[in-house]
């Protein structure tokens, strides 16, 4: 034990010497915020679990963020990283060692103080295959991950508890995204004793360090959060209570909002009501619009003829009438010309993309040896509006001679077809599309455009594998120094520009989010379209009608 301590001390001393220290940003608590009050939200789909290692759905993502905390988080309503359970952190210059100093006096909802052992336990747990976490893959850069993932070890050798308030991570490669990984739900800190007490049902009995704690859960009907009075972040949360009503159709939710029965419809404004709401100035004033780290795209299987020809793929890019598709979804999106969404760092504003040009598309097809087009298949998920969008794309493709028959299937079937090398020539990604896990450009590459994802069962449905770009991606991710972030973003822009040259995707649109709220809700607009605390930032919003 002693030896162990000595060596780590030496290591951290080295890190300190060479290290870059980031002081924590001043925490901002809205000075106008009022304390107290209760709000009601609705969701259509069931909340499956509130276990941070497992939850990966629209409706539970932000709930988990309010029950648990990670070492890192983002400034409310933004994509700017800040330390959270960590007080400060240091990154060794080689970008392979991260040391976090933990905040003192942070308590779990059960009253016990959170320490570095809990951080290590939580990471060992999430990467353990027995946990079956959908997020385990995010921790692949931590030393010892492979052994844990293979079931050969129970503990990550790269995570070390230096002292109760210091935890050190050693990585196998420099990883510029590591701080983001420490902010993602899957790395949130859980107390061992509670996890062991509830076993597989921990997700129904969540105990964390977060701003709220679970007060009531009636399966399939409602979930109630109440304020954690002992929350370490003084002044937060503002609300005393949040009630989530589950199983409410978006259309019902909107009507109830109009009647003043609820405060926020979690699934947004249903398409059929969108124009009605936007036409009424009083209601429109309560709508908050924001970008979303989402891109909807058509994948083309680059290993299947004729999509193995780049000209065919470029022709498809030019054939799709994005404006019409956006019209079909009531203008609730902006046209996309590259994989990254506009609000993502690294988005290339200069890049113009492929124009909508039917004549040029036809010419490209002819050059590729298909002057009369060809027959193919377009897969899409079978929930509205995806079959409609697929039909619009089908009509656009028909205009240049490509006759695509539609396979509108359950989500799981489309995913399976995409992960099969000879499964799906084209897939419309809607409903299964990429919404970024964290606001970093690399998040749109690895599993969906990199070689790592182009494996059976993978998510790289275009089977695009460019070794050269993979190397460039690795290079960009080894730029760990926060001061060089701008440079790194540029490297990523260049990677995506190159991807677009090869055109494995036809990006179609970036969805916009429209959140509507009751008149009593207060707080900055960006809290209601928080890019990370999706859909809204429960910790920082407040109600205006309390003393």
């Amino acid at each position: 034990m002693k030896k162990f301590l000595a060596s780590t001390v030496a290591a951290s001393a080295l890190a300190l010497m060479l290290g870059m220290t980031s002081a924590r940003a001043e925490d901002t608590v809205d000075p106008n915020a009022k304390q107290g009050g209760a709000i009601t939200l609705t969701y259509k789909d069931d909340v499956a679990t509130l276990d941070p290692a497992i939850g990966y759905d629209w409706q539970n993502w932000s709930m988990i963020k309010s029950l648990f905390d990670g070492l890192m988080d983002y400034e409310p309503g933004t994509t700017n990283l800040k330390p959270d359970l960590a007080e400060s952190y240091e990154i060794a210059p080689d970008g392979k060692t991260f040391t976090f100093k933990l905040r003192h006096g942070v308590k779990f909802h059960n009253g016990r103080e959170m320490t570095a052992d809990d951080v290590k336990y939580s990471l060992d747990r999430v990467t353990n295959p027995k946990t079956q976490s959908p997020g385990a893959g995010f921790f692949g850069s931590i030393k010892g991950y492979d052994d844990v993932a293979a079931g050969k070890a129970e503990s990550l050798s790269g995570v070390t508890v230096v002292d109760p308030y210091t935890v050190k991570f050693e990585l196998t490669r420099p990883d510029a995204t590591f701080l983001h990984v420490m902010a993602i739900n899957f790395s949130h800190v859980v107390p061992k004793e509670e996890v062991e007490k509830y076993g597989a049902d921990f997700g129904k009995h969540p105990v964390g360090t977060g701003a709220f704690k679970l007060a009531e859960w009636t399966l399939g009907q409602r979930i109630v959060f109440e304020r954690n009075a002992d929350y370490w972040h003084k002044g937060l949360p503002h609300l005393d209570k949040i009630t989530f009503e589950i199983g409410q159709e978006p259309i019902v939710a909107l009507l109830r909002l109009q009647k003043g029965e609820i405060d926020v419809p979690g699934d947004g404004i249903p398409p059929a009501k969108f124009q009605e709401v936007m036409a009424d100035p009083e209601q429109k004033a309560r709508v908050v619009e924001g970008g979303q780290l989402h891109t909807g795209y058509v994948t083309m299987n680059t290993t299947m003829a004729p999509f193995d020809n780049v000209k065919v793929r470029q022709a498809v890019n030019m054939a799709i009438n994005k404006a019409r598709i956006i019209q079909i979804i009531n203008g609730r999106a902006v046209p996309a010309n590259q994989p990254l969404p506009p609000s993502m760092p690294g988005y290339d504003k200069e890049y113009k993309g492929y124009p909508y040009d039917v004549a040029k598309a036809k010419a490209l097809l002819a050059e590729a040896g298909h002057p009369d087009g060809f027959d193919t298949q377009l897969f899409a998920m079978n929930t509205d509006p995806n079959p409609r969008i697929a039909q619009a794309i089908q009509q656009d493709l028909a205009a240049i001679g490509i006759k695509a028959s539609i396979q509108s299937l359950a989500q799981a079937n489309v995913i399976a077809a995409g992960g099969d090398k000879a499964g799906a020539p084209m897939i419309w990604s809607g409903g299964m599309a990429w919404i970024a896990d964290f606001p970093d450009p690399s998040n749109f590459y690895g599993p969906i455009l990199g070689c790592a994802g182009a494996v059976p069962g993978g998510w790289n449905w275009s089977w695009y594998c460019n070794k050269d770009l993979d190397a460039k991606a690795a290079e960009a991710d080894s730029v760990v120094d926060p001061a060089k972030a701008g440079e790194r973003d540029k490297m990523w822009s260049a990677i995506y520009d190159k991807v677009m040259e090869d055109a494995p995707w036809a990006p179609v649109f970036n969805e916009q989010r429209f959140t509507m709220k009751s008149a009593r809700m207060g707080g900055a607009d960006n809290l209601y379209v928080d890019p990370v605390h999706i859909p809204i930032n429960y910790d920082n919003v407040y109600v205006k009608d309390v003393q």
Partner: protein, 306 residues
């Protein structure tokens, strides 16, 4: 009687076993991989294989089914792949909503169906009779999702008499029950009509009439109880039709029952849930048929249990 019951129970168990085998086989053949749904987008192939092993999904079909069966016999329906909760717990939490809907639907069926049938029988041959019989045909020919959307539009959107969807009060129950009940009401109306006409032809009714009893008294005290029994005996068989309808009706009204649970599970190949809901539905259907057959001889002595 006891021998009959014993045989029927064994038969029913075999049927459930068959249902479980066929459903399990179908889900095994499904061209989708549940492990991919669990492992998420960033999983390495190794993680995926690891999870597959843990769930036993790498085993041959026979082994997988055998394991499922052994657990099933100890009352364990397994854990949901996606939600990670016990399937039993999930079904139990949603069953009350479905049962409530079923009770509501049966009430609607009986009230509407028996009422229509009774009036049609009494006014036999008149325009009223004809109209009611056409209405009963419309009832059995109307797709439930259209009826549901129509009722929603008229009574919830336009008239605001009932909520547009959701669950909780009796007001929420009315429209879904009506939607489910209209189909059955059509059948009951026709059965009630012919049953009532049969009874009205019987000697004792004629005798009563000859004795000069009031028309109303004859109808309600003598004819109705006799006519209604064979019709009521059909409720057991109804359960099958009901179980077919809940997926659609629950999805139209956002009703938090097992139909929605199954539908969401199918979208994400959550095999333990699909198995669980199918088995629970099949159990209800088998039980309903069994009850209908057991009750039959008590109602109509000409029928013997075989």
């Amino acid at each position: 009687m006891i021998a009959y019951l014993g045989r029927r129970l064994i038969q029913s168990l075999l049927i459930l076993l068959g249902v479980s085998l066929i459903t399990f086989a179908l889900l095994y053949l499904l061209p989708a991989d549940p492990v991919r749904q669990i492992a998420g987008r960033s999983a390495t192939p190794q993680t995926v294989e690891n999870i597959r092993q843990q769930l036993g999904l790498d085993q041959p079909f026979v082994v997988q089914y055998w394991r499922y069966l052994v657990r099933l016999l100890s009352g364990d329906l397994g854990r949901s792949y996606i939600q990670r909760s016990e399937v039993t717990e999930l079904i139990v939490s949603r069953l009350p909503a479905s049962l409530l809907l079923m009770v509501g639907a049966i009430l609607c069926e009986l009230l509407l169906g028996l009422g229509m049938g009774l009036i049609a029988a009494v006014k036999r041959g008149t325009a009223t009779d004809q109209t009611l019989m056409v209405a009963s045909f419309v009832g059995v020919s109307a797709p439930q999702f259209v009826v549901g959307l129509l009722l929603l539009y008229v009574f919830a959107v336009r008239l605001s008499w009932f909520p547009i969807g959701g669950y909780g009060t009796w007001r929420h129950l009315v429209l879904p029950s009506l939607t489910m009940g209209i189909l059955g009401a059509g059948w009951y109306a026709r059965m009630m009509r012919s049953s009532m006409i049969d009874v009205l032809r019987q000697d004792y009714v004629r005798t009563a009439r000859a004795k000069g009893l009031a028309r109303r008294a004859i109808l309600f005290r003598h004819a109705l109880p006799n006519a209604i029994l064979p019709v009521i005996a059909m409720i057991g068989i109804d359960i099958g039709i009901f179980m077919g309808g809940i997926v659609v009706v629950e999805s139209v009204f956002g009703w938090p029952g097992i139909g929605q649970l199954a539908w969401q599970a199918i979208q994400r190949v959550d095999i333990p849930i699909i198995m669980g809901v199918t088995l629970v539905s099949a159990f209800a259907i088998v039980l309903g048929n069994l009850l209908a057959d057991i009750i039959a001889p008590f109602i109509d002595p000409r029928i013997k249990l075989r």
